[in-house]
């Protein structure tokens, strides 16, 4: 029997390459091609300005410069605004930028001119010689400024509001008015960003002889890029191939497409007849890719003596930056996923998505859920504090119970479908978490630490994550005559371990050895129908698709083998790549079955001889039967009715230094339920990475814009991504496996989970240590110090004496 791979901690096959420096990223491509040209972009130094004149006359004098483009040089669809990818009907005032600015710029970093030269050094020299006359306009920075609307980012959107949306289930306001207890809270989250190791990058090669365009892009959606490039450059889809090589992280930012450079690079290649490359540098990534997270929330909640939420009314403002290419996904997710594992008796949510003169927003790992989780969990903690109850008790009182699934919230989710949870067991998860972190023993620990003059706090946060959104993913499985299996999936991979996880599924479904399965991702030549890798959807969507495709290949293999072995299909089994008749010695290799599946005219080797028309088939019938196809392949698509909902709970114990206000993590515990685990090691790796990113978001990272819209920390020197020294050395993880009824493998997504509760759980623990409310995240020692002063009756000098 083949060993079962599904569920095993299989080491990642891709790591061999990555750890040996053999990963191949966009910037590694075509480096030996002497015809390769490089590019650089002139970016706006101003957050808000009218462009009066662009003078490029000095540029072409620079030796090595080949071409320069401004908006005036663009024609046809290229001169039109970039697409609004997700045109949600509520987005009444959506705006997108041009590939190169047309007459105005709306954030520092917006592309104005594109220079192509023999190398990037020369291209940057040339960029510094372009002269632009600007008429400065007052910039709008931050949510309060956007709401005050003294200036409009876009003149035709005078109130800076791109969209207003309200959803309601029950009469929340009436319920709050009638509730025995009420609270109101203001809760803010600042801007941050994905900051993958590899920035954006595109290489294009136009082949004038065959009129074909090949584009390599560091994207989360190769099919999306292909569609945009073809449309914008006026090419037939069939003339464009998009390939995604190894990608050094995405986390959401690379789901936006087309970036201006993703179009300008192919345009330049077609115009110049030479391959062209754009590799974004780190500063550019900070100021011209995408950010997320900035939201301000106001909560009104009414509850009973047990802490049961009777009415919840949330109003929030989402800062979507200067343009809205990715629609309203982030605030819609906040507004729906905020509810987490709870069932308030009534709920109303309203948001405004506002324009500011800052970098655009796209989903960043968690995609609005970290904010929603922060709002809901801070509210739960506030209720517990108000009632003097244990924080876990209040949560338990509000949980959806295991027998209530599928649970309908009466709201519409980001995919336009009903928000209905498929499965979960929240009480069981909470019990596990309390055990794992030592919740009930914490007061003893606190006392012990206090005796040493140390201050500690504990917090927990729960979330539910809609994963595996549609519309679909596909897979193609091909069993070669060698018996080796090639599986192609359309979505891209950014380091998640797809080569391993999908090979595990194929190996089990087909009954072949794991080593014999090779997975190809993100290549539109292999699988032109796909959506992309985001929203924790790869495992659910492509995992299910590859399973279905393998089943089809298996069906065919059994049919052919049954004929060859003169046995009934039901009597056959496949293990280790061999089809055998159960309980007998009769068997046939899958490779041979593949040979038989493809009647040949030409014998090019020994194996193929066996498949020539002289050897196989009934001479009285056509070699390929009607309705059949040559080859041992299976192709299928998976399209779910709606999302599947994973969940988890995190707890953290922090220490806050009474003197310096530094915050140290003493223990971090995670209970995670993403249904059946394909590869627990990969899932835990995702959690580790997510927690690390969450530590960054909660305690270190922020986008420090000044009032003029300059990003003051556009480098890793000042954008404080945590080092390994800032991340907990151990993360205690426990799993619960509540299968999803929505897909054949019972799986749910796991990619974003680790980062969702970070802001909430750290705020809770710091609040617990300090004894005053934490209502805004991230928090630095300097800010904690300021809060201490605010909440102390004593003057600053006395505080550190007092706490010592």
């Amino acid at each position: 029997m083949t060993t079962k791979m599904f569920g095993a901690k299989v080491p990642r096959v891709e790591d061999q390459r990555f750890l040996r420096g053999q990963g191949r990223y966009v910037d590694d491509l075509l480096t030996d091609d002497p015809r390769l040209l490089h590019s650089a972009v002139l970016r706006s130094p101003h957050a808000h300005a009218r462009i009066l004149d662009i003078d490029v006359s000095d540029v072409l004098d620079v030796e090595g410069v080949v071409a320069v483009w401004t908006w005036d040089d663009l024609t046809g669809p290229m001169a039109e605004p970039l697409p609004l990818l997700i045109p949600h009907p509520t987005l009444t005032h959506g705006r997108t930028q041009y590939a190169l600015a047309k007459g105005e710029v709306n954030y520092v970093g917006e592309a104005i001119a594109f220079v192509v030269a023999v190398d990037r050094y020369v291209a940057e020299d040339a960029v510094s010689r372009i002269r632009v006359d600007y008429e400065y306009l007052e910039p709008v920075v931050g949510i309060p400024a956007a709401r005050a609307a003294r200036t409009a980012v876009h003149p035709d959107v005078p109130d800076n509001v791109g969209a207003r949306m309200t959803q309601e289930n029950g009469d929340a306001r009436a319920a709050i008015a009638a509730a025995p207890h009420t609270l109101s809270l203001d809760l803010d989250i600042e801007r941050s960003a994905c900051t993958p190791m590899e920035g954006r990058g595109t290489v294009a090669r136009w082949d004038p002889d065959t009129s074909r365009l090949t584009v390599w892009s560091s994207t989360q959606t190769s099919t999306g890029v292909r569609g945009c490039v073809a449309a914008k450059l006026g090419l037939d889809l069939a003339k464009v191939d998009v390939i995604t090589p190894d990608v050094g992280g995405g986390f959401g930012v690379k789901v936006v497409h087309p970036w201006p450079e993703e179009l300008l690079v192919p345009l330049a290649s077609m115009t110049l007849g030479r391959p062209v490359k754009f590799t974004e540098d780190r500063r550019e990534h900070f100021i011209s890719s995408a950010h997320e997270r900035a939201q301000e929330h106001h909560v009104e909640v009414g509850f009973d003596d047990d802490g049961r939420v009777l009415g919840l009314d949330v109003e929030f403002w989402h800062d979507h930056g200067a343009y809205t290419p990715y629609g309203l996904i982030v605030p819609i997710i906040t507004s729906t996923q905020l509810l987490g594992p709870y069932k308030p008796q009534s709920y109303r949510v309203t948001f405004e998505s506002v324009y500011t003169n800052t970098v655009i927003v796209t989903p960043y790992r968690g995609a609005g859920r970290p904010q929603g989780c922060f709002v809901m969990e801070r509210t739960m903690d506030a209720i517990a504090a108000y009632l003097g109850k244990d924080r876990t008790e209040v949560r338990s009182a509000n949980f959806i119970q295991p027998d209530e699934f599928p649970y309908e919230h009466g709201l519409v989710f980001q995919d336009g479908r009903e928000l209905t949870y498929d499965s979960g067991d929240y009480p069981a998860s909470l019990a596990k978490l309390k055990e794992l972190v030592g919740w009930d023993e914490f007061e003893d620990f606190r006392a012990e630490m206090a005796a040493q003059g140390r201050r500690v706090g504990i917090g927990l946060a729960c979330y539910v994550e809609g994963t595996g959104v549609g519309p679909y993913e596909g897979a193609h499985v091909h069993i070669e005559t060698s018996g080796k299996v090639k599986a192609s999936i359309g979505l891209t991979t950014q380091g998640q371990g797809h080569q391993t996880a999908f090979a595990q599924i194929v190996a089990d479904t087909l009954g072949v050895r794991f080593e014999d399965v090779e997975v190809v991702t993100g290549d539109t030549r292999k699988m032109p129908y796909s959506v992309g890798t985001f929203a924790s959807r790869a495992a659910v969507m492509s995992g299910s698709a590859v399973h279905l495709a393998a089943l089809r290949a298996k069906e065919k293999a059994l049919r052919i083998a049954a004929e060859a072995l003169e046995a009934a299909e039901d009597d056959l089994e496949i293990a280790d790549g061999v089809v055998s008749v159960k309980g007998t010695d009769a068997s046939i290799d899958l490779g041979t079955v593949a040979v038989l599946s493809n009647p040949l005219r030409y014998a090019f080797d020994e194996a193929s001889k066996a498949a020539t028309q002289f050897r196989v088939g009934d001479p009285g019938k056509p070699p390929v039967a009607e309705g059949d196809e040559p080859g041992l392949e299976g192709k299928d698509f998976y399209s779910p009715p709606r999302s599947t909902f994973a969940n988890g709970m995190h707890a953290v114990i922090v220490e806050t230094d009474p003197d310096t206000a530094e915050i140290t993590i003493l223990k971090y515990a995670v209970v995670h339920d993403c249904g059946h685990l394909i590869n627990p090691m990969i899932v835990e790796g995702q959690i580790h990475g997510g927690v690390a990113q969450g530590v960054g978001g909660a305690l270190y990272e922020r986008m420090a814009y000044d009032e003029s819209g300059q990003l003051l920390n556009a480098s890793f020197m000042d954008f404080l991504m945590p080092y390994v020294t800032e991340v907990p050395t151990t993360i205690d993880i426990d799993h619960l496996e509540t299968p999803s009824p929505l897909n054949p493998l019972g799986i749910k997504g796991a990619g974003e989970a680790g980062v969702i509760p970070s802001a909430a759980v750290f705020a809770a623990a710091i609040e617990d240590a300090e004894g005053f409310p934490i209502t805004a995240m991230p928090i630095s020692p300097s800010e904690l110090f300021a809060l201490r002063l605010e909440h102390a009756d004593l003057p600053a000098e006395a505080l550190s004496e007092e706490t010592r």
Binding site: R283, Y723, T725
Partner: protein
């Protein structure tokens, strides 16, 4: 993030290097490159010529004796940190260097380069200043020795002429009755400090005869304050001479608070260190 064009010279003798610096308008010394190369890449500096001193002989020495520690211009932070002799002669060197950046940066960055770079957020310029060290400087005009007190002109600005090469820094040894200590608060391990504090005390029979405190990141230049007469409120005395400022990582008030927290602690540690050494 590519530098503007520059010429590159890699002389093999000090004389050649000095001549090149004297002859070339806008030339700059390249040592470990850990500060200069980022400035070039962000086009915040655009020297006409880089004179790379990494090919010069005999500049990577670390020599320690009873008088003190001599550190050559090409001695890397990592080598200085690893030198038991250096730390035996002047323990403050190692205490402070362990807070300078990360191992990879320390493998390349030079201690002398860091001093000449004159960043008030850097540890080693302050340490040199606190210890009253000196820097030996060479140019086509000859050699001179610059006391640390005369070395720092302003933010990221030393008093060296553009054609001078610092060939060696001298850190005086810790006197027999002396004690030192260092502490800093940084946002992440290895980051520039929000506030860094070093103390140097002299004792006689366990009693403090002189106490000086050096500060990082709370003024425009490395600053040292004599607190010999303010042992019961060293922070108060120091704050009168410091100018903590707001930046995106911390407020001035928080920095001032850290000065208050760290100064008495570091002073106490230095006194403890002195007493431990003298057995008092």
């Amino acid at each position: 993030m590519k530098p503007a064009p520059f010429a590159y010279l890699r002389p093999s003798t000090l004389e050649e290097a000095l001549a090149a610096l004297a002859d070339t308008q806008g030339a700059k010394v390249l040592a470990g490159g850990q500060s200069l190369v980022p400035l070039l890449s962000m086009r915040l500096a655009a020297p006409s010529t880089l004179v790379d001193i990494n090919g010069l002989p005999d500049l990577d020495g670390i020599a320690a004796d009873a008088a003190g520690v001599r550190i050559g211009a090409l001695a890397r932070h990592a080598d200085v940190l690893a030198s038991a002799e250096a730390s035996a002669s002047q323990p403050l060197i190692g205490m402070a260097l362990s807070h300078v950046a990360h191992p990879t940066i320390r493998n390349r960055g030079t201690t002398v380069g860091s001093i000449v770079h004159a960043d008030a957020a850097a540890e080693m310029p302050m340490v040199l200043r606190l210890l009253d060290g000196t820097v030996d400087v060479a140019s086509v005009r000859g050699r001179r020795t610059v006391p640390a007190a005369d070395l720092f002109a302003g933010p990221l600005e030393s008093t060296l002429a553009h054609d001078e090469v610092a060939v060696e820094a001298f850190f005086p040894a810790l006197a027999p009755g002396g004690g030192v200590a260092f502490s800093e608060v940084a946002r992440r391990h290895g980051d520039y400090a929000l506030v860094g504090v070093a103390a140097l005390v002299d004792t006689e029979g366990g009693e403090v005869t002189r106490a000086r405190i050096g500060f990082v990141s709370v003024s425009d230049v490395p600053t040292v304050v004599d607190v010999s007469d303010a042992l019961d409120d060293p922070a108060g005395a120091a704050l009168a001479e410091l100018e903590p400022a707001d930046d995106i990582h911390a407020t001035a008030a928080y920095r001032a608070h850290l000065v208050k927290v760290l100064t008495p602690r570091v002073l106490a540690d230095a006194i403890h260190h002195a007493r431990e050494r003298t057995g008092a």
